[in-house]
Subunit: 529 residues, 2 copies
């Protein structure tokens, strides 16, 4: 990488190209001012070109060796680091997020790419299976049957607003799709086009330096409702990764389902991440829990998919102590700048709806705002009966707002849990004496959420092998998957079986002698020999 | 099992219940006569009852131990065998299929259940992953994170007409869903209700003898457009298994996508299973290939999902020899009874459309029919140009009809392959001298098909670990899956992560000390310690 230039261009294969559809600017949410340069939005021609290149690149890219593909992911990581502070500065200006958060997020992004490089090298994701021929079997011989996973094809990735690095141009969706062997066409989020171009150029440079076909990566700007829809509808696109609103995700699911050839959509959309304050824990440490809860709620202005937007507890003096402690912490919490004017407006609207709801009590508000686009934290309470009667109370308010549901007893708390929509997470604050009640609740939580955590807070999603960042609809469009962690690679794969194929034509992963030293399933038994 | 009684009843949980919606009869396709008894079709009330029971059974059934669940699958297999010859006789009368085929299919069905029992016991499908806590990690400690797969929930299974045992009430979809821990509600195929009731009672008895909740299995009769749709729309149903027509599968995909909570549909629908006759193979053994092809084409009146409905070859004297040999074999092939009057009518319609197509030549027809509902085999030919110009020539004609596409050269053959829709299989007839041409074709075939086979025929699908019976749309609705073989269990699972959950509350699969002796991924590395 040389100097960090932001030109306002889309990156289509090896070229940089200014789109002709209007002048789009990033806005600094902390000041409301627009940031140079102008970005030209793309149209049908650019979608066509990017998808055509991706389609052309697919067969070559998917057969790159494991080492070459891993080195490519590592080159992207290094190129991102090499942009240096210009990337952090631009991301700060475009997102309103503080330096420390963005430096941490860069570390996460780079670490994620490197973890997928390790995953590619290890090769278990190929799920190689061999059932050797049984020529003497009676009444019929068995053929030689071998299976591996191959990538689905070019993937459309939609950058998320709330992780301008870790879930955007070279974020988790892109890293896992590239790891699987899929070319990627990114639709940049309009909130951080400059950050997107910088990172996009880092990927583009890695494609070139690794000698890969240019179509492995393209980056488009423009309105999601136009070029996003065109991208998902393009016949060369075979899967979609998206992080954003429920409305946006559902719209893409519809486009994908209506194609002549429907394709999978991995949309991470909406979750209120219920926290269950169990009685013994509440009795033992209501004050501390109240403070810790507010710290999780207000972190990053509450702009996390796993923000704790719902608390459930049995009503009584212990809950009152928790709420008093939380209200006190919230009263003193600073108003923080949100990512975009649009997100800020939606937050204020959501808070106003709760404030105006006759069955909802406002328990506390954070410090008043002192600048544009700031979120003033909010804590509300309602009864279990009111919550069960009004589905609107389950709607996500993206930002630092949370609703406490006062339940008359544990049975009602379980009923409320049973009526929740799908979630990314469910959190238990519990002590040893809560074990029996938690055991009764766990089956419900397993059906509702992708991750169940005890005595922590849902914000903070570890990138590792056992993570699940996913869950039943509407948390995601496909509960069979995770968008964080190494298992995310599975989203972009499908199995192919080879029957009696001559040895010389078999893919390396399936050859006799196991030249890639993979874990393979031979006649059903795992082996590495 | 005691005696094999067919009463015309649906099986809802532990009860048998005669539906009130009309009198449905099976028809013996060989005679056109209807078979006693009458079956009452179900309605909304029975769908509601079956789904409610399935929902109630789910939490208990999904936490059965691996051994208990495996024993249940084995009990179903034994109960099916214990029905004895009454099952074979009824299936023969309802399907027109010969005894040997149905006895073989029973063996396959029972073997499939037993293989899934082994798979359940082995436990790798739980994909257990543990990333131990790192309390000293800087700047942030890592929590203890553990992941396993859990079942999706109750599954709706639609019995297939063409495998009244192996892909019907206790067939592959049911076996894999039960193995995963999902209760099953079967919508019986109307062509073989008596066979369905007999097998359904075998499953029902196994549920009882194994002490499982009654809702683990129910069996409904009625029109797919009514109770089938209601079943897929029921909120307690979390996935669908279907084998049948493209129209039927696409209709169910639509219902599933339009639910408030969309769910996965595994529909195996339509495939013409292209066979590529490569030049050296054709030169070496055109006559033998022609005869072997007709044997595969006409087996079971061509009523297999993997029936070879398309042949591609370079035009010339070798192809002419192949066609002469195939035509001779086809001329003498007996007309065979098809499964239902409806399937027979659709076959005749498809053959008539090809016969009447000006760009299609009729090369040969089988022996004239001698009874009702018989399929007279048919072999057609067309040019590559005509094939590329007319998408209708890619439509599946279910039965023993096949179309040869004469290509001027190998480049055109590859172009035709590139234009094919998704397929279950792609077959290569090849000799050593064809290796280079096949290598150029393989990437296309991998993108188009779930199984690629050399020097065999696509009919005959081994039930094993490496099999893929699936493929890109419209072969199936979800190319990421297989409906045959042990990997089919993955269709009905989703991951759940447990973070810092107290040891006593962890599922057994994830406990320290590995009490189930599973292969697990510890910090990313497979281990059984």
């Amino acid at each position: 990488m040389t100097t960090a230039t932001i030109t306002g261009s889309m990156l289509i294969g090896s070229t940089a190209l200014r789109g002709g559809d209007g002048d789009l600017y990033a806005v600094d949410p902390a000041t409301g001012e627009r940031l140079d340069p102008a970005f030209g939005g793309g149209g049908a021609a650019e979608v066509e070109r990017a998808c055509a290149l991706a389609g052309q690149a697919f067969d070559a890219y998917r057969e790159t060796g494991l080492e070459q593909r891993a080195a490519f992911l590592e080159a992207i990581a290094q190129n991102i680091l090499d942009i240096g502070d210009a990337l952090i500065q631009r991301a700060m200006a475009e997102s309103g997020l503080p330096r420390a958060r963005l430096e941490g997020e860069r570390g996460r992004t780079v670490g994620q790419l490197r973890l997928f490089a390790q995953t590619v090298r290890e090769g278990s994701w190929l799920d190689a299976r061999i059932d050797p021929a049984q020529p003497e079997r009676s009444p019929l011989p068995r053929a030689d049957l071998r299976q591996r996973q191959i990538p689905l094809g070019p993937v459309a990735v939609f950058g998320a607003s709330n992780f301008p690095l870790a879930f955007s141009v070279a974020g988790g969706d892109t890293a896992s799709a590239l790891a699987a062997g899929c070319p990627v066409v990114v639709k940049a989020h309009s909130a951080h086009p400059g950050t997107s171009e910088l990172v996009g150029r880092a990927v583009q440079a890695a494609v070139a330096s690794c000698g890969l076909p240019e179509g492995v990566f393209s980056l488009l700007f423009g309105a999601g409702s136009r070029i996003g829809t065109a991208l998902v509808a393009d016949p060369r696109i075979k899967a979609v990764g998206f992080t954003g609103s429920r409305r946006g995700g559902v719209a893409l699911m519809r486009v994908a389902a209506d194609r002549p050839e429907p394709i999978p959509v991995y949309a991470e959309m909406s979750s209120i991440n219920p926290v269950f304050l169990m009685p013994a824990a509440l009795a033992a440490r209501a004050d501390a829990l109240g403070r810790a809860f507010v710290a999780s709620l207000t972190m990053g202005a509450g702009q996390f998919c796993t923000n704790p937007g719902l608390l459930l507890a049995v009503d009584g003096p212990d809950l009152d102590r928790f709420l008093a402690s939380a209200a006190e912490a919230l009263d003193g919490s600073a108003a923080l700048t949100m990512l975009t004017p649009g997100i800020h407006a939606a937050y204020d609207e959501g808070v106003a709806a709760l404030t105006g709801n006759a069955s909802v009590e406002t328990l506390a508000r954070g410090t008043a705002c002192s600048g544009p686009n700031q979120a003033r934290a909010a804590l509300f309470a309602t009864s279990a009966a009111a919550f069960l009667a009004d589905p609107a109370l389950q709607e996500e308010v993206f930002g630092s707002a949370s609703l406490v549901v006062r339940c008359p007893d544990l049975a009602t708390l379980r009923t409320v849990a049973e009526r929740l929509e799908g979630q990314l997470t469910a959190t238990l604050q519990m002590d040893a004496d809560d074990a029996a009640a938690v055991a009764a609740l766990l089956p419900v939580l397993e059906r509702k959420a992708g991750r169940i955590l005890a005595n922590g807070w849902p914000t903070g999603v570890e990138v590792c092998h056992a993570m699940v960042h996913g869950g039943p609809f509407p948390a995601t469009s496909d509960s069979r998957s995770t968008s964080v962690g190494t298992a995310a690679i599975k989203r972009f794969l499908r199995p192919v079986c080879y029957q009696d194929l001559p040895a010389a034509l078999l893919p390396e992963a399936l050859r006799d002698g196991n030249p890639l030293a993979l874990w393979r399933r031979i006649d059903g038994a795992l082996a590495k020999a």
